[in-house]
């Protein structure tokens, strides 16, 4: 057997020495949390768990508030959490002096209810410019139970497209029955008995003629405007536009 060259032996000794130093550092000097993957994960998880909570969750409000949660659960807004409107409220629970915001202003509700073509069909939407302008929404709708004061849902059930169109039009405030007389029979056998439809220009003129006493309604000269044509030959009555 050939003897290893001296230099190689020495090198091997150095390497062995270094290796033992490395192992020493690895197992004796370095803190466990730096080398042990499990420990390092655990400490990261613990730091994650210690993060402060902002949103208290939907269940806890009813421990102190009785009316609002009960009303909310029974109405159209039952799927909303208190904090969706009132904002993060953990601070309020820790200290009542901190009041959650109560969004009373008119631009709050349209975040969800403004008409937007990407929203799923059937979601109740309004045109905030045309829908009862100037008044705060909560003047007419209780935010915790927002049923409209009068819900003409029955016509909407079958004439959804007309109802949706009207809901974002200038005629949003006019109920169907202003222009159509519909009997109960129509609801049951729609084709057997049809509701009435406006018959002449004077009908629209009752609100739009210059001598009518309606306010906040654009007025036209009934005699000349649009010639002898019926109003709805030019204006779609459920979505009237002045152009």
């Amino acid at each position: 057997m050939r003897k290893l060259p001296d230099s190689l032996v020495r090198l091997l000794i150095v390497i062995a020495g270094l290796a033992s130093v490395v192992l020493c550092i690895r197992f004796l000097v370095l803190p466990r949390s730096l080398t042990d993957m499990e420990l390092h994960k655990q400490s990261a998880v613990e730091r994650e768990l210690e993060k402060p909570i902002q949103f208290a969750g939907s269940g806890i409000c009813q421990e102190c508030h009785e009316d609002e949660p009960a009303t909310l659960a029974a109405g159209y807004h039952s799927t909303l959490s208190c904090e969706t409107c009132h904002g993060p409220a953990q601070a309020h629970i820790d200290d009542f002096e901190y009041k959650p915001k109560a969004p009373r202003q008119r631009d709050f509700c349209p975040v969800c209810h403004m008409y937007d073509p990407s929203r799923p069909t059937g979601f109740p939407q309004i045109n905030p410019i045309a829908h009862n302008p100037l008044l705060p929404c909560i003047e007419c709708h209780d935010p915790h139970d927002p049923v409209p004061p009068e819900t003409p849902r029955s016509c909407e059930a079958c004439h959804a497209e007309i109802a949706r169109m009207k809901a974002v039009s200038h005629h949003v405030q006019l109920e169907c029955k202003v222009c159509h007389e519909a009997t109960n029979e129509h609801m049951l056998h729609p084709r057997a008995e049809k509701p009435t439809k406006p018959a002449n220009r004077e009908f629209c003129g009752s609100c739009h003629a210059e001598d009518s006493d309606t306010v906040a309604t654009p007025h036209i000269d009934l005699k000349t405007h649009g010639g002898r044509y019926l109003c709805w030959q030019c204006h779609y009555p459920h979505f009237p536009e002045a152009s």
Partner: protein, 247 residues
């Protein structure tokens, strides 16, 4: 001379060598492996046909998790899809601060349009975990991918590797940040902030293993899709009513 150079080189490599010993350490540790008790496996369902694009989830997430206000930094976000009559797909980000003005272009001939909420998919096979050079990002036993922001050095590999664009570099800590399913909340039995504020139950949260969780019911009732299934990342964010054009 040569010897000294070699010696220097070896000492320089000391820290590196220390890390190399890791596999041995792990082998040793394996004996102590505890019998895993029945841990939950968290997941989220997204019912696309319910999203109204109100953006409350984005704002709640920022408030809960201290996410910087810029729209480029998001743990969860909502995309508006518009598919026009040429079948071209236009995707835009819902701006959380200026929600009402994000109307779609009136000129475009719209075939269909909808909102898609997105977030980290908490993949079972997370590409971000694979590429992290310092193992700062890892999967917990209940299935959530976390970032150890003390170990993370902000190299950004994981941000590149994520096929869903779910990660960003936090401008203050200079480390990678992403959705944690609100780990600090769910481990206390609270819902993630985005789920808490969602008004239409477009977001559903639960334990994938439990027969009584709302997610299990969702999976039974609806056809489930995941994003980019061909990548085999096995996401735990499950979509229902997902349009074929969504990427």
């Amino acid at each position: 001379m040569l010897r000294r150079k070699l010696l220097k080189m070896l000492t320089g490599a000391l820290p590196g060598l220390t890390i190399l010993t890791d596999p041995f350490a792990r082998l040793l540790a394996q004996d102590e492996e505890t019998a895993a008790q029945e841990l939950p496996l968290y997941g989220m369902g997204i019912q696309v046909d319910r999203c109204i694009g109100c953006g409350n989830c984005m704002e709640a997430c920022k408030a809960e998790n201290n996410v910087p206000p810029e729209p480029t930094h998001m743990r969860t976000w909502v995309e508006r899809y518009v598919i026009d009559s040429n079948n071209e797909v236009h995707v835009s980000l819902l701006n959380s601060r200026n929600r009402t003005s994000s109307q779609i272009d009136e000129q475009r001939n719209v075939l269909r349009t909808f909102f898609v909420p997105k977030l980290c998919n908490q993949c079972e096979n997370p590409p971000c975990v694979q590429v992290c050079p310092v193992e700062a990002t890892f999967k917990t036993e209940d299935g959530v991918v976390l970032v150890d922001n003390e170990r993370c050095m902000g190299c950004g590999y994981c941000i590149q590797a994520c096929p869903y664009g779910a990660r960003y570099l936090h401008p203050e800590t200079k480390t990678a940040d992403k959705c944690t399913f609100c780990y600090h909340r769910i481990s206390q039995g609270l819902l993630p902030a985005c789920v808490n504020v969602c008004p239409t139950q477009a977001r559903v949260f639960g334990n994938l293993k439990s027969p009584a969780s709302p997610l299990t019911r969702l999976r039974r009732l609806k056809k489930i899709n995941v994003l980019k299934p061909s990548l085999n990342t096995a996401p735990k964010v499950l979509y229902t009513d997902l349009d074929g054009e969504v990427r």
